[in-house]
């Protein structure tokens, strides 16, 4: 008898497991990942900052169409990518969202200094939800953002102590004198796109993001652009990873500076440097 009961219990468990798996599969949907063919060179692996998501995908496609070389782009926050490269992650090219992390890798001899260049620039903007009737804001010294935040609204930004977009936002708000009033009202996110999402979903009335982020999200509206001299210059440096043995890595880095690539980045709202 106990044996039969155990079998029945086991069968119940397995049914539960099967149902969980089915639900999981339904929740996941189909994923696709380009597998390299058995012949031909391995794909070029590019580690790129999260704020480059759409533009670097487009650039990678254009490069593949031109050279036949497959490119795989891995997007994450620059700090996570830099730390992965320091742990011998198999990256060939690194595009960072700020100079600090590229410097950090260069000091450790992990990127090729000769290949490094300050590829792109960006602007910092104040955004609101597209349905928000708030007027445009002149982001000049002495600007007060608290009326726009209301009684309990929050200002969505990336982590102001560490993430590049957050650090720039803090510097800009500080130099305009708005920092003391908004500091207790921040909602800090792990990357700039998460801050963008909070504004797009109407969870936070205001956010500080890059101009390129605002351009990629139809549910937000730009209320104002921070003056370029209110924060350190926003630079996206690119370099070849020193440990990379991929024959096309140097060529790809050079191509990123070509007019063909520049057109793609301009189209996505970046500034050329």
């Amino acid at each position: 008898m106990p044996g039969r009961r155990a079998v029945a219990a086991l069968r119940r468990r397995l049914r539960g497991l099967a149902a969980a798996t089915a639900l999981l599969l339904a929740a996941c949907g189909g994923g696709e990942r380009p597998a390299p063919g058995p012949e031909g060179p391995p794909p070029l692996v590019v580690f790129a900052a999260a704020s480059l998501t759409e533009s670097m995908d487009a650039a990678a496609r254009a490069y593949t169409a031109r050279s036949g070389q497959a490119v795989q782009v891995s997007f994450a926050g620059s700090p996570a990518l830099a730390r992965q490269i320091a742990q011998q992650a198999p990256a060939d090219v690194f595009v960072s969202a700020d100079t600090d992390w590229m410097d950090w890798l260069q000091q450790r001899g992990l990127v090729d200094p000769a290949s490094r260049s300050g590829l792109l620039g960006n602007a910092l903007v104040l955004v609101a939800h597209v349905d928000d009737p708030a007027p445009e804001v002149a982001l000049a010294p002495g600007v007060d953002l608290s009326p726009l935040l209301g009684d309990d609204g929050r200002l969505a930004v990336a982590l102001t102590a560490s993430v590049p977009a957050g650090k720039h936002a803090r510097a800009a708000l500080e130099s305009l004198g708005a920092w003391p009033s908004v500091q207790p009202r921040l909602a800090e996110t792990e990357n700039v796109r998460a801050a963008l999402l909070l504004v797009a979903r109407g969870e936070a009335p205001l956010g500080v993001v890059y101009a390129t982020d605002a351009k990629a999200e139809p549910r937000v509206r730009v209320l104002g652009t921070f003056p370029p001299d209110s924060h350190p210059e926003i630079v996206y440096p690119v370099a070849r990873v020193a440990a990379s043995r991929h024959p096309m890595a140097g060529d790809f880095v050079q191509w990123l500076g070509s007019p063909e690539a520049a057109a793609i980045f301009l189209d996505h709202g970046f500034v050329l440097r």
Binding site: A9, R12, R15, G16, A18, A19, A20, A22, L23, L24, A27, G77, P79, A80, R83, D100, W101, W104, R154, A156, L159, A161, S162, V163, L186, A187, E188, T189, E190, A194, A195, L198, R201, G202, E203
Partner: protein, 229 residues
């Protein structure tokens, strides 16, 4: 000073969130475990699978689902704040809610196993002696499942302490409200030179989790000794 003020705030907040999450989900956890252990009904496998879902889903998915449902714009979030005055968005209660959901499968699993191992004949004996089902549950089933309830609560507490993905997606990282120990460690990892802080807080996380596990072990052993005496 051993810790910076930010670190102390994060540690205290994490303890508050983890205690609230594990204790608040306990009644529902016991009820769910009892239903799964003792009642047969159509759709039981589905309930079982749903309970386990947070264990297998990516935490960001849970966080996003919470943001969409319990945020300012979500249906449940609007209902709760308008009618009951309860708000989760960007508050520590939201961090506790996210942690509670992520720890719920662990809580239910441990308690369910404990209830299943309670001898049904003891419950039947109590019933023949005139105890109603509620009394049977509170005087026989519940005390005998005590070790599982303690183990489940400690697991849920430890999970809540370590929860990161769902919390930061749902309620972001606000000092004193939602910047928990995990969030603070993550923030330090984003800055070059944050290593010493990472190590200090990692040790704190290990110490708290170990203390919780040892305390549960001690509680269960004391209870067993009490039963023998």
């Amino acid at each position: 000073m051993l810790f910076t003020p930010e670190e102390t705030t994060a540690i205290a907040l994490s303890l508050k969130v983890a205690v609230a999450a594990s204790l608040a989900s306990l009644p529902l956890g016991i009820a769910t475990a009892w239903v799964l252990a003792r009642v047969d009904f159509v759709g039981k496998s589905l309930l079982d699978a749903l309970v386990h879902l947070p264990l297998v889903l990516p935490p960001v998915v849970v966080g996003y689902a919470l943001l969409v449902t319990f945020g300012h714009g979500g249906a449940a979030g609007r209902f709760l704040s308008e009618h009951l005055g309860i708000s989760f968005a960007f508050r520590w209660t939201g961090a506790a809610l996210a942690s509670a959901i992520m720890g719920f499968p662990l809580l239910v699993r441990a308690i369910r196993l404990a209830i299943e191992s309670v001898d049904r004949r003891l419950e039947q004996a109590a019933a023949t002696l005139g105890a109603n089902p509620l009394r049977v549950f509170f005087t026989v089933t519940l005390p005998l499942s005590w070790p599982g309830i303690v183990a489940g609560t400690v697991l849920a507490f430890a999970k809540a302490l370590g929860e990161f993905g769902a919390t930061i997606t749902f309620v972001s990282s606000i000092p004193g409200q939602t910047r928990t120990l995990s969030s603070e460690i993550y923030g330090l990892m984003q800055a070059p030179g944050g290593e010493s802080g990472i190590w200090r807080l990692a040790v704190v996380a290990v110490v708290i989790s170990l203390a919780a596990l040892l305390a549960s072990e001690w509680l269960v052993r004391r209870q067993r000794r009490g039963e023998r005496d």
